[in-house]
């Protein structure tokens, strides 16, 4: 283990600082990470060049780079059954928390303040809390204008439901916004009318099938206009069991044909307490296995994104973490900002170097497995406790989420993440929390951790999940492949049974209380 120093440690950022700062209210691990299959080999060179530092678009980048959302767009132009307007738009954020609404001027200042504290910052997005292009997109474009002036190295992106998109394509081109996310849940008005009770379009409120038809046509028009102008488009879809789950295969096909470069299928998160139509009518969200089965079915040429955290509209930080609480309006007001981008530049240069090394060592590990393991050995799932840098560097009891890898003869692939409450709060493990972890990773063969206590170790083994601390601080992907090789050998000798496991439960993070 020569490589125990994390990237954050080398740069003197993150680790210590973020641990202290995120102790309260943060929803994820101090810095989120997952080993990634997404590298230059999976994407055309020009696309990779655009997305490589974008945490939402590149699985690999999401270990290293941070994004922030600024909540400058509270108005919306459609109604979704999974959304309660008192809260953030659930296209991009979990319902249940209200963002601090900012003026464009406040937002631009906040961006500078964060950029100076968090050199990993590479992207600023506008995703709501309503629709970024409703109300003529005025706040959104004004905010982008201000950021482009004061921090031109930061990439801009926006998310929209697509209804107003065709009206703004020219402006988006002119602004040099190279990433747009459209939430598309259907390509058929019959499905659509069960998701959207109404839209506001052309000065009228439309309902039923007409509403869904207009929305659908506008989404396709906007998608085509953007992709033909060379702007990268990611499509988000919310998977709603019994409403659009199977239909999303068609959505996948339609958006692929029109040039979307990423499709992100997210689970509906539904709870009566959210006050949404689906929440109140008892519409359930998918289980982990249902979600993965659909994602597997859709994964063809179009890259699927599985690391989306469904962040809040005002999230700040690496994916899986939310440092938004450090940058509320009054705190930002007090920070003296400057436009020096030196720290961000150094950080990016460093990441370039580390990346090249990692690509080589991952390829070597993959090759070894491909050579030594028979092709018919079934892939397994492994849960990993990590806080960043693509390493197994989190204590089992401190993990707030586990990254799930599918490992097989074709390599190790990140397939999702599962949220849990921290099992060990202040030193003593608690039984219910352990039960919840077992539920969350019940379909995994092993769990990789930096450290683990004797008691949870025993319980995990009993539940058929092997706790592994032998790879502590090593890289995830290489370790997973090494483990898989040993697993295949044991399986060949009949020492382990192949395991289908239980299904796992998907849950949102605890909402952070925030003032309205």
């Amino acid at each position: 283990m020569s490589n125990v120093v994390s990237l954050d440690g080398i740069l003197g950022v993150g680790e210590l600082k973020s641990a202290a700062l995120t102790s309260k209210g943060a929803s994820g691990c101090a810095s989120s990470s997952c080993g990634s299959s997404s590298g230059p080999s999976d994407l055309p060179a020009d696309v990779w060049e655009k997305v490589k530092n974008h945490p939402c678009y590149s699985e690999e980048a999401h270990h290293y780079f941070a994004r922030m959302h600024v909540a400058v767009a509270p108005a919306c132009n459609i109604q979704c059954n999974y959304c309660n307007r008192k809260y953030d738009c659930s296209n991009e954020s979990r319902p249940g928390v209200v963002s601090e609404k900012l003026t464009p001027e406040q937002a631009a200042k906040k961006v500078l303040a964060v950029a100076q504290e968090v050199p990993q910052l590479s992207v600023v997005g506008i995703a709501g809390p309503g629709d970024s292009l409703a109300a003529q997109g005025n706040n959104t474009f004004r905010t982008f204008d201000l950021i482009a002036k004061s921090a031109p190295d930061i990439k801009l992106c926006l998310s929209t439901n697509g209804l107003a998109l065709p009206d703004h394509v020219e402006r988006i081109k002119g602004m040099n916004i190279d990433h747009v996310t459209i939430t598309i849940n259907m390509v058929d008005a019959e499905v659509g009318e069960r998701i959207y009770p109404w839209i506001f379009y052309d000065h009228k409120r439309w309902t039923g099938r007409d509403a869904a038809q207009i929305l659908h046509e506008r989404q396709m028009e906007g998608l085509e206009a953007l992709t033909s102008a060379g702007i990268l488009v990611k499509v988000n879809s919310v998977m709603i069991p019994g409403v659009n789950d199977q239909h999303l295969v068609e959505v996948n096909k339609a958006v692929r044909e029109r040039g979307a470069f990423l499709h992100n299928i997210m689970p509906l998160i539904s709870d009566p307490a959210h006050g949404t139509h689906f929440g109140l009518t008892g519409q359930r969200g998918p289980t982990a296995q249902e979600l993965k089965a659909l994602q597997d079915q859709c994964e063809g040429d179009l890259k699927l994104m599985r690391h989306c955290r469904q962040c809040r509209a005002d999230a700040v930080g690496l994916l899986g973490e939310d440092r938004g609480g450090e940058f509320t309006a009054d705190k930002v007001e007090a920070i003296a900002v400057n436009t020096d981008d030196e720290a961000r530049r150094l950080y990016r240069e460093h990441v370039e170097v580390e990346r090249a090394e990692r690509h080589a060592s991952k390829a070597a590990a993959r090759e070894e497995v491909a050579e030594s393991v028979a092709a018919d050995v079934a892939p397994i799932l492994i849960a990993v406790a990590t806080k960043g840098g693509e390493r197994i560097n989190e204590h089992f009891g401190h993990a707030t989420e586990f990254q799930i890898y599918e490992v097989g003869t074709s390599g190790a692939k990140f397939v999702g993440h599962r949220r849990v409450d921290t099992y060990c709060e202040g030193g003593s493990g608690d039984e219910d929390a352990l039960e919840m972890v077992l539920n969350a990773i019940g379909d995994c063969t092993a769990v990789f951790v930096a450290k683990i206590g004797a008691c949870p170790k025993e319980k995990l083994s009993k539940a058929g999940i092997e706790p592994v601390d032998g790879f502590a601080f090593d890289y995830i992907e290489e370790s997973a492949l090494t483990y898989f090789k040993a697993h295949a050998e044991r399986a060949a000798q009949g020492a382990v049974q192949s395991r289908t496991g239980r299904d796992a439960v998907l849950r949102p993070a605890e909402p952070v209380a925030r003032r309205a």
């Binding site: 509270p74 919306c76 307007r85 008192k86 109300a135 003529q136 506001f200 000065h203 009228k204 409120r205």
Partner: protein
């Protein structure tokens, strides 16, 4: 005749303000309000009052 906003239900999203053809809506003390002197109920301009059509909380109503 004019419209008004039921303040208790308003989410302060501002969607109505952006749609009003007469700039009758403004943000005052934490909520949006309609100036009854300027509001025309969109008569002669649109087929329905724009604020009521766009409002997600259905809180724009005849005064």
């Amino acid at each position: 005749m004019a419209y008004k906003i039921k303040g208790a239900e308003c989410t302060a999203c501002g969607a109505c303000e952006a749609e009003c053809p007469n700039n009758a809506i403004s943000f005052k003390k934490g909520t949006y309000v309609i100036d009854p002197a300027t509001c025309t109920e969109c008569n002669g301009q649109f087929s329905s009052p724009q604020c009521a059509s766009v409002c997600p909380a259905d809180c724009c109503v005849p005064a």
